[in-house]
């Protein structure tokens, strides 16, 4: 230990760059394997867009776990609810969705997304109060309760909207691609990337630059200490849970537009994907979750292009590989 004079700045924590370099290295490694630069660029943009969407859905889950040790197996339900609620707005305004004007499209899309976020956030409030609070601190029961919640939510959606797949067409102005030379980049993917980046930056700013974020980060590291300082961590947790649910709803809308369809079973498939992302990233870490989401999307896209058969199990292989390297995920935030 070296002595520090009072005026010296505190030593900065060492930055762990290896996980950040991982997706970049993976992308660069793929250039020679894929061969053509244009298809590589298209695939890279596709995986970035997909990764951002997965990140939006997964970010709430990882924070909720990090802060309160609560794992919500019903997180997927918020995604599906968000998507269904968006159809409520988008269906009556089908005409302005099909109009070839970006502003008219956005004028419908933005309220739809906001409404989805509001509804899934409100649902998050109910779920937290009814399902999670009673079994707080008991892992086994949490898993069972939230799984039960998932069943009930899914069945209710079937009852309300019917078991059929609901089409959700992309707005006219977001269809098609930007053509740069011989590279085609789908417009919607650019939008998804922008929104994802915005969400990531917003979360990072809140976590690192505000008092609220300071409390959340402190809570992730040591909950009891924050409580001892007189902060109501339960209320903080409720806020994080609702925000996470709302983000899942937003992700659901984006994913539904990406697939151009809505179905209650989308929550099942995405839940698995999100869990893998959260495990890879390290439970509780937003940065890890971001990198994990991009890695999963990259493996899915590149793998699907190079070895289509492998794409099915590629996520599992990725998870095994990462956990071999770092058994607690890319960034181990919590001490649990």
């Amino acid at each position: 230990m070296t002595d520090l004079a009072a005026t010296d700045p505190l030593p900065k924590p060492k930055r762990d760059l290896a996980p950040i370099l991982l997706p970049i290295a993976l992308a660069l490694l793929m250039i020679p394997l894929i061969g053509s630069t244009s298809s590589w660029l298209t695939l890279t943009v596709a995986s970035l867009a997909m990764g951002m969407m997965i990140f939006i859905m997964a970010s709430g889950l990882t924070l909720v776990f990090g802060l309160m040790d609560v794992l919500n197996f019903g997180h997927g339900a918020f995604i599906a609810v968000g998507a269904y609620v968006a159809t409520l707005v988008l269906a009556p305004f089908a005409a302005s969705i099909q109009a070839d004007s970006l502003w008219m499209n956005l004028a419908v899309l933005a309220p739809a997304a906001l409404l989805s976020m509001a509804v899934s956030g409100a649902l998050g409030l109910v779920v937290e109060r009814v399902l999670i609070l009673p079994v707080y601190g008991q892992h086994l029961k949490q898993i069972l309760m939230t799984t039960g919640g998932l069943i009930v939510a899914e069945q209710t959606m079937y009852a309300l909207w019917g078991p059929q797949i609901i089409p959700m067409p992309l707005p006219a102005s977001l269809r098609g691609s930007f053509i740069l030379g011989d590279v085609a980049i789908a417009k919607y993917r650019v939008l998804a990337m922008l929104i994802g980046l915005a969400v990531f930056i917003a979360i990072q700013l809140v976590l690192n630059r505000t008092k609220l974020g300071l409390l959340i980060r402190a809570g992730v590291e040591n909950r009891e200490m924050v409580e001892a300082l007189g902060y109501r961590i339960r209320r903080l947790f409720l806020g994080v849970f609702m925000t996470g649910s709302a983000l899942a709803g937003l992700g659901g809308v984006m994913w539904a537009l990406y697939r151009e369809q809505v179905h209650a079973s989308m929550s099942d498939d995405l839940t698995v994907l999100i869990f893998i992302v959260v495990i890879i990233g390290g439970l509780g870490s937003i940065g890890g979750c971001f990198i994990g989401a991009i890695l999963v999307a990259m493996v899915a896209n590149y793998g699907g292009f190079l070895v289509p058969k492998l794409a099915l199990v590629s996520n599992i292989l990725l998870m095994v590989a990462i956990l071999m390297w770092r058994p607690r995920g890319l960034y181990a935030v919590t001490s649990r």
Binding site: F65, L144, M145, V152, Y158, A159, L312, V313, N315, P327
Partner: protein
């Protein structure tokens, strides 16, 4: 007492209910004529064994696995592929069993060694991911598994419905291959459940419960917890694969929907929690309640839904639609986790309603 491994139901009502269920199952071919009743009874037998093996994991070790249907599916597919490829003979049945059971155990060993070292939550997530990958794999390897269509196959001569063993006697009953298959399913399921009862009441089972209550302390007492948990995982996988074999033999078919889907996993979870975790007997009760509801509640709900729509009520017809029966069971599931975590069996054993339960 010997046969129950010194762990009787410990409640007069529970004993009565169990005896009624078992007698009813055993006598189904004679008491309830018709193919549907026999199907329901066989399904209850298969699921009772499957759920009991899941109870070994969930109730006795406290680890939530979402990969249990995978082992069930391995058993189903092993026997189906063997009988499909080798033709309907006993050698194929033996091959399927000899290949399927060790395969399930090996996979359970791999998953256990990989993920049981960490917290229960990790185990739950990893099993969920592995199971979903396996499901996709099974539907993609269509040259082997028949893809989404699955594999239909013929049973050996002796077990076919056409084989009449005892022609109609003066009671008017005919014993054919179908009924023989039913008794095979019944007997093997019963044996597996008794074996599980033996396991949980052995010193090994006590260690599992110690790990469930306080893993750190169990480790401090000198038990290698990872070894015990992995061993329990393998045993549960073996029984699940056995149940899968029975299921495939009964249905003469193995496919993703009947043996691998995530919804079966949720069904198992519902059964074990409603019946009572950590009791083994709960599996029989849970499976009976659930499968009876699945088969008979639906028609009841159909009537109610019709009545509601005729009365012009909003929303209710949709909520009462026969396909939505899982909604009501899901609500029952949440309520039972919350209000009586020890399930029906725990409630019957301790009617005073000790709300704490023995699960932390």
């Amino acid at each position: 007492m010997m046969i129950l491994s010194g762990d009787p139901p410990r409640s007069r009502i529970l004993t009565l209910v169990l005896v009624v269920i078992i007698l009813a199952l055993a006598a189904t071919p004679f008491l309830f004529p018709g193919a549907k009743a026999l199907n329901v009874a066989a399904k209850i037998c298969v699921f009772a064994a499957l759920v009991a093996s899941y109870d070994l994991l969930l109730g006795y070790t406290g680890s939530v696995s979402f990969a249990h249907t995978m082992f069930y599916g391995i058993g189903s597919y092993a026997i189906a592929i063997a009988l499909y490829g080798m033709g309907p003979n006993w050698a194929a049945v033996a091959t399927g069993t000899v290949v399927g059971l060790p395969l399930a155990a090996l996979l359970a060993l791999a998953i256990g060694l990989f993920s049981l070292r960490v917290a229960a939550i990790f185990f739950a997530m990893i099993t969920l991911a592995v199971a979903s990958a396996f499901q996709v794999l099974a539907s993609q390897l269509s040259w082997l598994t028949g893809g989404e269509d699955g594999r239909s196959f013929q049973l050996p001569e002796l077990l076919r419905p056409g084989t009449v063993l005892i022609s109609k006697n003066l009671f008017g009953f005919e014993i054919n291959g179908r009924i023989l298959t039913f008794y095979l399913v019944f007997a093997v399921s019963a044996l597996m459940i008794l074996a599980l009862l033996r396991v949980v009441n052995s010193p090994f089972g006590r260690v599992l419960q110690a790990i469930r209550e306080n893993r750190f302390r169990a480790e401090a007492l000198g038990f290698r917890t990872v070894f015990h948990l992995t061993y329990a995982n393998c045993l549960a996988a073996l029984v699940a694969a056995g149940a899968g074999i029975l299921n495939a033999l009964w249905l003469r078919y193995a496919g993703p929907d009947t043996s691998l889907s995530f919804s079966i996993m949720l069904d198992i979870l519902l059964m074990v929690v409603i019946g009572g975790m950590g009791t083994i007997y709960g599996a029989i009760i849970g499976a009976s309640i659930f499968i009876l509801a699945q088969n008979y509640l639906q028609s009841l709900m159909g009537v109610a839904s019709k009545a509601a729509s005729e009365a012009g009520l909003p929303l209710l017809p949709g909520l009462l639609h026969p396909d939505r029966w899982l909604l009501w069971l899901g609500l029952l599931f949440i309520a039972s986790v919350y209000f009586f975590p020890t399930g029906v069996v725990g409630r019957l054993r301790n009617p005073a309603g000790d709300k704490g339960g023995d699960l932390h």
